[in-house]
Symmetry: D2
Subunit: 355 residues, 4 copies
């Protein structure tokens, strides 16, 4: 193994990223080293690229960025018990301590001492990466590496959709970003009944239709009446499930209005500030359940996702709009920043021959 | 049976109630007639007494008020299948249609065609009352009639506390009205761990202590730090369960702050308007669950309540502060309106000898 | 409306059924009269046809048989609240009292006073049938009547599969009768991962494959190793879910052996006598859950089924092997009795023009 | 710290145990060393003492026995994150690998690579013991050491009782050993309604009554009719919950008979061989759930147990019948072997001054 590798660094505080040659890291006792096959860009990576306030307060340069990844195990630590060389793995990005009260209450994904791969530890935008065994997930060897790379964000959609059973239920999805599109696909593959998707971009709503939505509502089109349309289509009852992927005030308000009595509202989108909620009519009188969704359940979400992919009913390929060499990372970030919102997931390959 | 009876009427639109002699009603095919043993005053009855906007829009005088009740069956309708003369029953006040999609989804208590006893139908502040079999609940014959009369509001507390398992969990109760006091008792009887109660009135917080709270926090006392106290006492983790009985902005905000990651927030209190919620930090990142609570589950809540009463671990007697003749209803309403907030539940008896 | 209709009767105790002209029944206050569009034969109907001991003890001739049905409402009882003339309905065959403790605990489908349509009340093998509103289910008007007729048995499969979430899970189905074939389809439409089906008849296992099974195991073929094959395919872990549709000793034993630790075993098949179970190794040490499945949850199962059919992912058509005129009922029963086991569901139409 | 300690060893294959001076062990990177305060005898330890077939196949002498324990941390391994010197801890005896598919499905307590403390690793019948951090549980500092020592077996009872909510439910407990007595206490502290206990020994049934049972049934007394008595007392409906702690054929059969429709049956007792079960009438038609219970949920059970103990409603002291010096271990084993069955839990103290 060569001793140096290419890696994309936040080299110092401030905007931008740079490719450097750095040492290939050594796995610790309970870690493995993987040769990165594919690694994709998260919205969080964009924040770090542009160096917003959150990034400035959290990131300690120099840091290899990246946390959506797949690759093959090339070296295993001394105390690793199950993984072996050659295994094709993806990574859960939330690294739990496993022993705090939060972890022990079944919430490892929001551990009280949580570290995030590529944020608090060295990341995956590189030829090699170290993955703690506790967050390594073994894939079917023949899974498309682009899909294997995006399991982490796809898992957000799986958790949001399947936080409670969705089979046979009517669903309203708010949002048409990658999470919104994926969650349509997960709901459809899980046997949801009618699926409404509310968004802003025709290109993305079309991706949602490819993934299985029945009715698209574009709120930028004059005359679009989200609440009226959904209530009419459900005989005034409303939908069984709302999947809120935007964090916008309007979506939260409309989501509560179209939710049926006794319904479930999965809240994944993150608002910038406080949200006004009609607690009395939207939640209490309705007997509604609001479920906060962050990360992915460890490991229920991953098992569900693997089963859905194996079933052949879930195919997130339409969301993967760009497959580029890792060396072209600047193009990838630019695509995600573009005003036309035509980028879904951007997957980067250290070896262009793998594309 | 005499053909006339005393009954407390909203005789015409406007404030006040009057006692009149009215015909004893006849039960329909699936109804029973009960001789009222005890009937208690709900906060809703106070609204109707004072004739607020909601009352003016909903109530059609003349109407016999009252929906918290117990009594013995004295006549059964033709198609009644299980009840028989002499049975000692209480009433669920939410009368469901049983066949709408909401009822069929297990939510009879918030039926799409819901009628409320004593609001939409003739009530129970009288010597006799008609109870549909679909909302009649058969009690142990030796249950204290005062307790049997308040099962409906006690059931709110049972539902709020037991919407998810509470055994062994730490609990923060916001509110010290009858619902807040009762919910402390239910949590304690169900094996909750530490119980914090947040309120405003020393007299009522003392009742909460009698019902089982471990720590009382009076927000009217200078220096009371609800969030700090609860977080300190839980090693910074927060409580497993928040039971919000007030609907106030402050309680909702503080409740979300003291809730642990992965915790449960039962929302029973009804705010007058929209509430500001920190959706990102209070719900999404925490993986919290907000459960809207209205009425009582039919009939899971009632079974749980009957079992708790039978166990001897739940005794709501401290909440019953007044036991008066039905004829003295004006005193009862006055006690509930009093500024000193020393009234819990006021139970009225048609026959003063039963007190 | 003509005053007489054709109906298939158990005219007197003993084997056989006869077609007679009988009075068209009148609906009671909470019942509707439907014009039967299609009605299918249940295994139970075969028992009654052949007059086994159970039939002799339960059935009171003369009785119109049949309980799997769909049709249009032509007359409504006085107290019917939601249905109206022209509605296209199917029937839940389990008629609950709605007020007993079992019904009130959310188990209407196994009510303590349960009556079964076409067994304890007049049935549906006729031109018209009376359906209590409490068991009437309104269909999409354009649902294939053959499918609408078999919703009751299809619902068994929906309940068996979805008694707990199945999305993403690996599944072993024991049985290849109509219930076994349908349950494969439901699991597949609900996003199950790998599906194994164990049966005896190549024709039926092929129907299972059409419905979505991945691996078929025919226990009549020499060398078939059910336990070994399933454990090998699941890396020795076993499947997440076993759906037992046969009631045979062998299937129950093998099902417990292939179930993973913490797995779910839905028991739908009815053995003739006691079953030997390895409680220690099959259930206790495994932390397994055995769920008894009877009928269909009212109405969770029906909502799930309607949603699955609407999604287009569940199509039970392959199971409907025969569509015949009601007048040819003898052929239908003969097909179901045939030794070659090539009959799935036999659907009969009062009006042959509807076929 | 002295370098040698007293420890009770299975020194070689064959019956009996011996006290020896052995080296005080060193904790590994993720382990802690505790000074044992109290350690109690499990039924499994008796099997090892007497060297039954299971012991001969599993135990590799020399081995320090014992796995029910509490003590104070005196040394921490390099990678221990939360525990510190002086912490008062108990141990979960099931040591999971944390990364196998079983662990990752939330079933660490039945890990595919499970090791058991004092069976597969050095145990706790000694002055000092090594506890992996992954199974260390921090107690309230003022918890009675005898209770802290028996948390592991008490946890069996907590898991068995609380595998589903039990608040307000009627319960039949089969068994009057320590597990059966404890499970009565847990059910009572959790707000169960009526509790029936079925056993054989008056002394133990009296302990059950102290812990909260309402009705005791001694099957060795002529005329005891378990099924009839329980059905009569529940108006023919049966109990909501059966907690089966014996593994006997009779108890399993009677348990299924007294379980209500839709009820829950927790199976903790381990039969020696296959059990006959009336699957059709006992499970399927009833819509019953059979839950296999082994070990304790990690860590839901422990949180529930800690909360119940803190509430003051659960006090397992009556089950602790013997408190003896560790040096007198032979007396402890003899008490547990005695025919009169008057021993509950036997707790041993390395330092007799602690008794």
């Amino acid at each position: 193994m060569s001793e140096k590798m290419r890696a994309i660094l936040k080299a110092q505080a401030g905007p931008g990223l740079e490719m450097h040659m750095v040492d290939i890291p050594e796995p610790g006792p309970r870690e493995v080293l993987i040769k990165v096959k594919a690694t994709s860009i998260c919205g969080t990576d964009r924040h770090v690229y542009h160096w917003d306030d959150w990034s400035a307060s959290r990131i300690k340069p120099p840091l290899v960025l990246g946390h959506e990844v797949c690759g093959h195990v090339v070296q295993i630590g001394r105390d690793v018990t199950l993984l072996k060389e050659g295994d094709f793995v993806s990574a859960e990005s939330h690294i739990p301590c496993t022993v705090c009260p939060v972890c022990r209450s079944g919430q490892q994904h929001i551990c009280a001492n949580l570290k995030i791969l590529g944020i608090d530890t060295r990341g995956t935008f590189a030829e090699y990466a170290v993955i703690p065994e506790v967050v390594a997930w073994k894939n079917d060897p023949d899974l498309d590496p682009a899909i294997a790379a995006i399991l982490e964000p796809l898992g957000n959609a799986v958790y949001t959709a399947l936080a409670e059973p969705i089979t046979g239920q009517s669903v309203a999805v708010f949002g048409d970003g990658p999470a919104g599109i994926n969650v349509v696909g997960v709901a459809r593959a899980s046997g949801a009944g009618r699926i409404f998707q509310v968004g802003k971009y025709p290109f993305r709503l079309d991706l949602g239709r490819q993934m299985g939505s029945d009715v698209c509502l574009n709120i930028t089109e004059p005359g679009t009446d989200v609440v009226g349309t959904i209530l009419d289509a459900t005989e005034g009852i409303g939908v069984d499930v709302v999947l809120e992927m935007t964090g916008s005030q309007q979506a939260v308000s409309e989501g509560l209005q179209v939710l049926r009595k006794g319904g479930r509202f999965s809240a994944f989108g993150l608002p910038a500030g406080p949200i006004q909620m009609d607690l009395a009519n939207g939640i209490v009188f309705k007997g509604a359940r609001i479920l906060g969704i962050n990360g992915r359940l460890m490991w229920e979400t991953w098992f569900q996702m693997a089963g859905l992919l194996r079933s052949g009913k879930l195919d997130p390929s339409p969301v993967i709009t760009h497959r580029i060499p890792l060396d072209d990372f600047e193009q990838g970030f630019a695509a995600m920043d573009a005003a036309d919102r035509r980028a879904g997931k951007v997957v980067m390959y250290p070896d262009p021959a793998d594309i």
